[in-house]
């Protein structure tokens, strides 16, 4: 059996890739994908611990997170569509009217 630490290392790696994407990319679509990666890192953690403790609660939570991710993508795509309609591109550095 694969030790739980391996899963955790995998999860942190995936999370950091997602975080890197959020911090460096300018396109909203990349944002969406990066957030998706971060969520799935969390999912890996949940499933890994569920296996480690022999408790199904973690897996159930992972299912919830997958459903939540689906909803989040629906809203995210909607926002990106509106962004595109108003600004003609999906660069998040352009719409800064809401500052201050």
């Amino acid at each position: 059996m694969v030790p739980v630490e391996w899963y955790l290392i995998l999860a942190s790696a995936v999370f950091c890739i997602g975080l890197f994407g959020v911090l460096t990319r300018r396109d909203a679509l990349y944002f969406l994908m990066s957030v998706e990666l971060m969520m799935n890192a969390a999912n890996i953690n949940l499933v890994a611990f569920a296996l480690y403790y022999g408790d199904l609660t973690g897996q159930v939570f992972a299912l919830f997170v997958i459903a939540l991710a689906a909803a989040e993508v629906a809203i995210g795509i909607g926002i990106i569509l509106v962004l595109y309609r108003n600004f003609g591109e999906t660069d998040v550095t352009v719409p800064t009217e809401m500052r201050w």
Partner: protein
């Protein structure tokens, strides 16, 4: 059986609701909201009678209803105190307020005044505050309502704010009474600091504690190591400041004649019958405290006697109807103060009651004349009105006889009792005797100016076209006049002490019994208890002439009545002729002094100019230091906010970076405190 005392708050709140209704919806209501005010005051009046009957049935009420601030040392509360004194006052105030509301229909509505909702809102708020003041069970609550009453006075005097005079008179009234109230406020704080309570009555109330402190049973706080007696005198004088301002006593009387700029019903309600009574009522309310400080009492008596004479002399030369009445009001309140200073709590309350009736009557009668004369108030343009307005004449005459103190009208009984009490106590106390002499000298002057007014207004030949063809008045003027006219005649019969003493008829001194808790009341807040206090702490002792109470009584009453009749006859001789003349030139130089009110206004203005530097300094301190601190704090917040909001850049990436940094910082903190490293 429903408890009447449960409805005491309603007595105060009903006029307050009429204020809200008139203010919010007055312009949509018929008569500018007058009916709401009439209904509210009528309701309060009926409830007050019910409460008075309950007190007559031998019960009293002294409860704290609401504590709005509490602390380790003392609590600030709202409460109600219903005993014979306040129950009587509630009835008087609600009755006069009701009649004035009805009269206003004739004086304001029928005369086509504008801004009526504002007027009725003012009357409603005034009535509510006065009733709250009367029913207050502690000094702080009394102070708050005292100030509200002053505010309403300001609003109503300045009712015709588009003219030049009224706003200025309103400001003057407000500022002069505020000057007195300033001392009152310090007095309230001093009472709290000294006793830790400001309750008027019951165990642990401040008059009771003051008595215990004088006996060494209670450890009262005093500043600068003052002796308790001296300190109590000072506290009494501080509170007296408010009384002198509100009751228009010398030297703070100057606002009242100017306050006649207000509509006449307002003058009747506020500046004659009720608000001005607030000062006298306050002294009567805390008489248990004043009875312990003979110096304060002597000062009260002296100020009262002096004001009575001083104001009466100014009333002699006035040309306007309401001005004469204004000075007579100041003078009559002087009598009440004299009575209080002479230790005669009952006589003061008695005169307060009879004066409320006959002075409200005289003002309303003057209002009726003013309607008839198309708002010309100069008596030299009147004359001969008695045939044209018989109801007004008859009631006005009744009120004048009462004011002049002619037997058997109400004013005779109360004024006689005041002078008698001042006299018998004055025989042992020179200051009181001085007060009595001035009070006595004011009697013929009062009778003289009163009947000068009556003769000039109603007798002789009409001296102008207006007087030849006066405008008729309606039921809403005659009704209140008739009610008050009857009261001015009969109100004196509730307390015929001299008759009882001379003829030995028992039971005709109802008011004395009432205020002496014969029917019920709070232990210690009663006439005989005050008399014991006065005898013990102030050394008051009644003297007699020729060792007989009967002879003293006859001499005092005879002197008073004789002088009043003398004044009346002089006025009759000089002014009850078809074509009266002024006769003032015979006064010589005194005439100018009297016309100019002894230059009191000029003197006060002069004084104000001398103190401009102090005021300027206070202003700089206020603007610079006090406002500076407040503004400084706000500008620090503003500048800080201006900087901090820059972190909201609008870039999603920056927010994400901040989140991440925050997370990292949190992990580091957790790691350091959790001991990971």
């Amino acid at each position: 059986m429903v408890d009447a005392f449960a409805y005491v708050p309603a007595i105060v709140l009903l006029p307050f609701f009429s204020f809200l209704v008139a203010l919010g919806a007055g312009k949509y209501l018929p008569k500018g909201g007058a009916f709401g005010g009439i209904a509210a005051t009528a309701g309060s009046f009926l409830l007050s009678i019910w409460v008075a009957l309950t007190v007559l049935g031998g019960r009293e009420y002294n409860e704290t209803l609401y504590t709005w601030a509490g602390g380790e040392q003392f609590e600030l509360t709202f409460g109600l105190l219903i005993d014979p004194l306040s129950a009587l006052m509630l009835v008087i105030v609600t009755l006069i307020a009701l009649l004035v509301h009805v009269f206003s229909l004739g004086y304001m509505n029928d005369e086509g005044e504008t801004g009526l909702p504002r007027y009725y809102a003012g009357l409603g708020l005034f009535t509510a505050s006065m009733l709250g003041f009367v029913a207050a069970d502690n000094l702080l609550m009394a102070f708050m309502f005292f100030e509200l009453v002053g505010l309403c006075s300001y609003l109503l005097i300045g009712f015709h704010f588009r003219q030049e005079g009224p706003p200025s008179a309103a400001k003057k009234a407000f500022l002069v009474t505020r000057f007195g109230d300033y001392f009152f406020l310090i007095g309230v704080v001093a009472v709290f600091a000294t006793f830790g309570t400001a309750q008027f009555a019951g165990d642990g109330s401040f008059p009771v504690l003051a008595e215990q402190a004088l006996n060494g049973e209670f450890d009262a706080w005093t500043p600068l190591g003052l002796d308790v007696g001296t300190w109590f005198t000072l506290v009494g004088l501080l509170v007296l400041g408010g009384v002198v301002g509100k009751s228009a006593q010398f030297p703070l009387h100057t606002w009242l004649p100017d306050a006649m700029e207000g509509p006449t019903p307002v003058s009747a309600l506020i500046h004659a019958a009720t608000m001005v009574a607030a000062g006298v009522y306050l002294v009567a309310r805390m008489f248990g405290f004043y009875a312990l400080t003979p110096t304060t009492l002597a000062i009260i008596a002296f100020i009262g006697g002096f004001t009575a004479l001083f104001a009466a002399t100014m009333g002699v030369v006035k040309e306007e109807l309401k001005q004469v009445l204004a000075y007579s009001t100041i003078s009559q309140y002087g009598y009440m103060m004299l009575a209080l200073g002479a230790g005669s709590y009952v006589a003061a309350t008695f005169h307060l009651m009879t004066h409320a009736f006959f002075k409200a009557l005289l003002f309303l009668g003057a209002g009726s004349v003013i309607i008839a004369m198309h708002h010309n108030e100069n008596m030299w343009d009147m004359g001969g009105l008695k045939d044209k307005m018989p109801v007004t004449y008859a009631t006005f005459l009744a009120g004048s006889l009462a004011l002049a103190g002619i037997f058997p009208f109400s004013g005779f009984w109360s004024k006689d009792e005041i002078l008698y009490e001042a006299f018998i106590h004055g025989l042992n106390e020179p200051l009181l005797l001085g007060g009595w002499i001035m009070g006595l000298l004011a009697v013929p002057v009062t009778a003289f100016y009163t009947f000068r007014m009556v003769f000039l207004t109603f007798h002789g030949d009409p001296r102008s076209d207006l007087a030849r063809d006066p405008e008729p008045v309606r039921w809403n003027v005659k009704g209140p006049l008739s009610v008050l006219g009857v009261l001015a005649v009969v109100a004196g019969f509730v307390n015929m002490v001299p008759v009882q003493k001379l003829l030995g008829v028992e039971g005709i001194d109802f008011l004395t019994q009432w205020l002496d808790n014969e029917f019920g009341g709070i232990e210690g807040v009663q006439y005989s208890a005050y008399n014991d206090l006065l005898a013990t702490y102030a050394g008051y002792e009644a003297g007699t002439i020729a060792g007989s109470e009967g002879i003293t009584l006859i001499v005092a009453a005879g002197l008073g009545l004789g002088l009043a009749v003398l004044g009346l006859l002089v006025a009759w001789k000089l002014y009850n002729v078809p074509e009266p003349t002024e006769h003032t030139e015979k006064l010589g130089g005194a005439k100018d002094v009297l016309y100019n009110n002894y230059y009191q206004d000029e003197y006060q203005v002069w004084l104000a100019h001398r103190t401009e530097d102090v005021a300027g300094g206070a202003n700089v301190f206020d603007q610079g230091v006090i406002d500076g601190v407040v503004n400084g704090i706000s500008s620090v917040s503003l500048a800080g906010g201006e900087r901090v909001r820059r972190i909201q850049t609008g870039l999603v990436t920056h927010y994400a970076a901040m989140l991440t940094l925050g997370l990292v910082a949190l992990i580091v903190v957790l790691g350091v405190t959790g001991g990971w490293f």
